[in-house]
């Protein structure tokens, strides 16, 4: 349980980190280390070089702009969770972060690291997918924004090039009049989710569902958008029956049978979490209007 040998590069700028990424065959970025170092310890990862970005200045800022929240590559889970400004603008983020691991791990782990790591059961990638967010990546080819819908390929794999670094992630604002919720089931608080559901619901003036965004983690090989459920919710009066009928459409998307939670059980969990998340989101939307 000790890492194999690697070159250690303490980058002082993003450019230095990108250079280092191109000058070795196999590199990893050391952000919070909360997923990387376990993999090094197990020797699942045996990179030629570990590029530490912790001493790059300017990457630890949270910026709030008209309800959207952008987090730099070194913003720790706990830093965003405790940010009063981010909470006031975008309370969904804190609700989701409360489910990410435990405080000592959230003190070190970063949001961008979690997105880059792309664990299929991780919460923040699912939140990014639900909100149609994006990451900003820099590589030898320059800078680009990659939307969440194009980012996640499968468990622990993104579409980013091997020389690219995520410099920030942007979570777009919650729509006006909407309600939100993040609901998940774990065997123990802070563990990776059996299933997690992120929901943003906007009721129209008539109380019917005007728009719905839902995503899930833990149920498939990557964080997924629940488009069929969304389509079934829009236009309904969001009654218990309507929501249950829509939630049942998640069944086909549940492909993960691992971790002691078989397919049937996980489908049931996902349905239940959807009904809970939608109910909570509707309640919050109603409170917001009152």
């Amino acid at each position: 349980m000790k890492p194999a040998r690697f070159e250690y590069v303490a980058a002082k700028t993003v450019a230095e980190a990108i250079d280092a990424r191109s000058s070795f065959d196999d590199t990893v970025i050391l952000a919070g280390g909360q997923s990387l170092i376990p993999m090094l310890n197990y020797r699942v990862a045996q990179p030629d070089a570990v590029i530490d970005i912790n001493r790059v200045p300017g990457l630890d800022t949270i910026s709030v702009d008209n309800g959207a929240v952008r987090v730099g590559a070194l913003v720790r889970h706990r830093q965003l969770e405790l940010s009063a400004e981010a909470f006031a603008a975008h309370p969904l983020l804190r609700e989701a972060l409360d489910n990410v691991a435990h405080i000592p791990i959230r003190n070190r782990g970063t949001i961008c690291g979690s997105i880059a790591h792309a664990d299929a059961a991780a919460e923040m990638p699912a939140v990014l997918v639900c909100l149609d967010g994006f990451v900003t990546a820099q590589g030898s080819g320059g800078e680009r924004n990659v939307p969440a819908s194009d980012l996640f390929l499968f468990h622990m794999t993104t579409t980013l090039d091997s020389d690219e670094i995520i410099t920030s992630a942007t979570f777009p604002a919650l729509p006006k009049g909407s309600g939100y919720a993040f609901e998940e089931l774990t065997r123990r608080h802070g563990d990776y989710a059996v299933a997690g559901i992120c929901a943003v619901i906007t009721p129209g003036p008539d109380g019917n569902c005007a728009s719905a965004s839902l995503s899930a983690c833990g149920i498939a090989e990557k964080p997924v958008r629940l488009s069929a459920v969304e389509a079934a919710l829009v236009g309904t009066n969001l009654s218990d029956d309507a929501v249950s009928a829509a939630a049942a459409l998640v069944d086909d998307m549940v492909t993960n049978e691992d971790d002691g939670a078989g397919g049937r059980y996980r489908r049931q969990v996902a349905r239940t979490l959807i009904t809970r998340a939608v109910a909570k989101a509707c309640q919050r939307a109603a409170q917001g209007r009152a």
Partner: protein
């Protein structure tokens, strides 16, 4: 003798490039040269001979290696020693001594919050952080259990650890 670094534990790393690290641990300054792949947990235990920090799983799950890094709890098994250059670290050794236990240590002793003691250093660090960093810590069962959720104990069944957290809070606010 006791203060000699334990070279056997890091011998395999002897021929590797070493990187200088200066770090303050429990108020004392240390300078060492370390291999980049040396974990902070092994650095504390083998290089500095601070064996109070325990190592259970080396992948972040058990919590017994928890220390405070610049005032915040962190897993020393998920930190490289080279990362802590210029940092301030507190380990369980900072909480008290055999003749003068700190309040959290005293509470664990009084409430039988430990049996074999393997997990205890991590619990003591997490509980200290929880009680020091929260002006008004949630002392309900659920609040305490959430605060402790990142630490595993195979012996006690947690009941007495939960009791020890409340007791420690009392001791800390007694005078």
């Amino acid at each position: 003798m006791l203060n000699q670094p334990d070279r056997t534990a890091t011998q395999g790393l002897a021929d590797e490039d070493r990187i200088p690290v200066s770090v303050t641990v429990n108020g004392e300054a240390y300078e060492r040269s370390v291999s980049p792949r040396l974990l902070l947990s092994d650095f504390l235990r083998h290089e500095l001979r601070l064996t109070g920090t325990h190592v259970g799983c080396e992948h972040g799950v058990c919590g017994c290696c928890t220390i405070r890094l610049n005032g915040e709890t962190a897993r020393s098994c998920l930190t490289l020693a080279v990362q802590v250059d210029g940092c301030e670290i507190h380990t369980v050794e900072s909480l008290g001594s055999k003749s003068a236990l700190g309040p959290v240590q005293q509470a664990f002793k009084e409430c039988h919050g430990l049996q074999c003691g393997y997990c205890t250093p991590g619990f003591l660090m997490v509980v200290t952080d929880y009680l020091e960093n929260n002006a008004d810590p949630d002392l309900t069962d659920a609040g305490i259990r959430t605060a402790l959720s990142g630490n595993l104990c195979r012996c006690t069944g947690y009941q007495n650890i939960v009791a020890a957290v409340r007791r420690a809070h009392k001791i800390m606010h007694a005078g």
